[in-house]
């Protein structure tokens, strides 16, 4: 197999607040190949956004990467200085955010916000950058592209603004696009359009995408591989099909069970996961999910489980996968046909 585009290992990020150290990301490792879509799923505070912000060097001032490495094309992103990082950002690695209503500068035309990105990273004339901006607007299907360059963000709808954000992100043909909840703030029909557009552009341009979301439905439709995060850690990772077919961590199972199914007309209630996420100021010694887990054992509170293999390319951080653990239907590999 070729070397991955991005290889993150043991990434740990903390925020140093007046109340103490908040361990937001604790030893996250994953690999991303060129052209792959990796979904990172988890609830608020699970560390999924902070993981990506750490890679981009965009942590707020109280946040610091305290351990780990992140090799991107052979360079460790975590050791680059601000100049080197800013040369990468928007160029090789770009990012789109959750709320398109607030992510664009209200006082500059959208055209200027695309053009300035191109001019920052490419040695081209303003006219050439403008031509490229029109091209990008056509790529993300903003109608009458040339005219809309002169518009301000407030003259666009939410979906159109997210298209502008995507155009900015694609301006310099990035090798990696990080999309942080790109559809959360949009209504459902627009969500589908934006996801379809992202997927189509990813295929056409061959870039890798990290798609951060709390919506497993979005992952199912878009991603190739999934990381499930909880309490600042990777709980489960595997190919989308495999993970949806054989969720191997109780948390993933809980997430899947809490998705409403419109085809189900038996009118039974959604199955929520009881309890609330751990306090990252004092993370539990054992498995962070143990307090909410129906299968928790004494061992779960005592020590943190390692990532066990749940299949050839499928891993889960759960003691149930220990050879001596009791078998639990639907979670432990032995009980499902290989």
């Amino acid at each position: 197999m070729s070397t991955p585009l991005l290889s993150v290992s043991n990434l740990s990020t903390s925020f140093f607040t007046s109340r103490g150290e908040v361990k937001a990301v604790r030893g996250v490792s994953f690999e991303l190949r060129a052209g792959e879509i990796l979904g990172i799923v988890g609830e608020s505070g699970s560390g999924k956004s902070i993981t990506c912000m750490s890679l981009m060097g965009l942590l707020r001032s109280s946040g610091r990467v305290i351990d780990g490495s992140a090799l991107f094309e052979g360079r460790d992103l975590l050791t680059l200085d601000e100049d080197e990082l800013s040369a990468l950002r928007g160029n090789d690695i770009s990012m789109i955010f959750q709320d398109p209503m607030t992510s664009l500068n209200p006082t500059l035309t959208v055209g200027e916000q695309v053009i300035e990105t191109i001019l920052r990273h490419r040695k081209v004339t303003r006219a050439a950058a403008r031509a490229r901006a029109i091209e990008l607007f056509e790529l993300v299907r903003i109608p009458s592209a040339a005219k809309r360059l002169r518009s301000y963000p407030h003259e666009f709808s939410g979906g159109m603004r997210q298209r502008v954000m995507i155009a900015i992100a694609l301006a310099c043909d990035p090798k990696l696009l990080i999309a942080d909840e790109p559809t959360t703030a949009l209504d459902v029909t627009i969500q589908r359009q934006i996801l379809a557009l992202l997927k189509e552009l990813q295929g056409r341009l061959g870039m890798a995408v990290i798609l951060i979301t709390h919506d497993l439905g979005v992952i199912a439709e878009t991603a190739d591989r999934v990381l499930v995060m909880y309490g600042g850690m990777v709980m489960e990772e595997g190919p989308v099909r495999e993970l949806f077919a054989r969720p191997s961590h109780p948390y993933t199972r809980g997430l899947l069970a809490s998705i409403p199914d419109l085809r189900d007309d038996t009118h039974h209630r959604l199955t929520p996961i009881p309890g609330s996420p751990p306090d990252m100021l004092r993370p539990p010694k054992g498995c962070p999910f143990a307090p909410r887990c129906a299968h928790a054992m004494a061992q779960c509170n005592a020590a943190l489980p390692p990532l066990y293999d749940a299949g050839p390319v499928h891993r889960a951080r759960c003691w149930l996968h220990h050879p001596q653990a009791p078998r639990v239907a639907g979670i432990t590999a032995e009980l499902v046909p290989a």
Binding site: L58, G90, F97, T102, I168
Partner: protein, 309 residues
Amino acid sequence: MTAYVVQRLLLMLVTLFAIITLTFFLMHAVPGGPFTSEKMLQPEIQAALNAKYHLDDPLWLQYLNYLRGVLSLDLGPSFKYAGMSVNEIIAEGLPVTMKTGALALICVVALGVPLGIVAALNRNRWPDTLVMVIATIGVAVPSYVIATVALYVFALRLGWVPTFGLDDWRGYFLPVFALSGFWISFIARLARSSLLETLQQDYMMTAKAKGLKRGTVLFKHGLRNSLIPVVTVLGPVVANLLTGSFVIEQIFALPGIGRHFVLSITNRDYTAIMGITIFYAAVLMVMIFIVDMLYLVLDPRIKYRADAK
């Protein structure tokens, strides 16, 4: 847009008319008059003076006559300074007031805004603390205290600057300092909090994520958005500085119009009260109008339309 400007200008005239009317009748409702003093004048002299200045006319007639004068830009003769018209008082004091006021304004913009920026960018570190301590003192200590202390230290003790007057260029230092101290502090605090708020905005994160250089992020994306509240207060600040300060002009013995503002009232100098009030109101309204027009340049979301009522 043109319709809006015309509407605004008409509205300014209506406001001015209301101010004139209100001031006129309030002023006459206050007991006493321009020729009342401890040393009682002989009744005949009093009557002659009243007749000369038409103070014996019925009030409505005086009011109409005054309005006629204002319409022809004649603010009438001063009651206290014999032989001088109110127009002349303003014309004489204005250059002095404007010069010190304009210098103070330059200090406010050139020092207040950068100090606020430095403080915001060094939030909770020593430059921030230093600027905020000085700015808090500047806002809290009245200008006459600053003026008096500065006068004592720099003029009397150290002898670096003259104690009064503007004949020497060094004479401008202390009045300008005393005039601008409060507003520099005020603007520095405002610029700081406004910039801090802007720095938290999502689009600042976008600008960084695009790889823009620190300076571009700060000045192109941050500053313009954070200056909108600063520009809002600068309108009244300009009006305030250009119309002078009674206290500062008194302390430094400057022949400006600020002092006439207060003196005219204690003197019951009817026409001077009216004239200076009208002048101040007009300057203030024009400044607010200019600020509103500046918004158009600063914030493309703002568009003005004349009300179609």
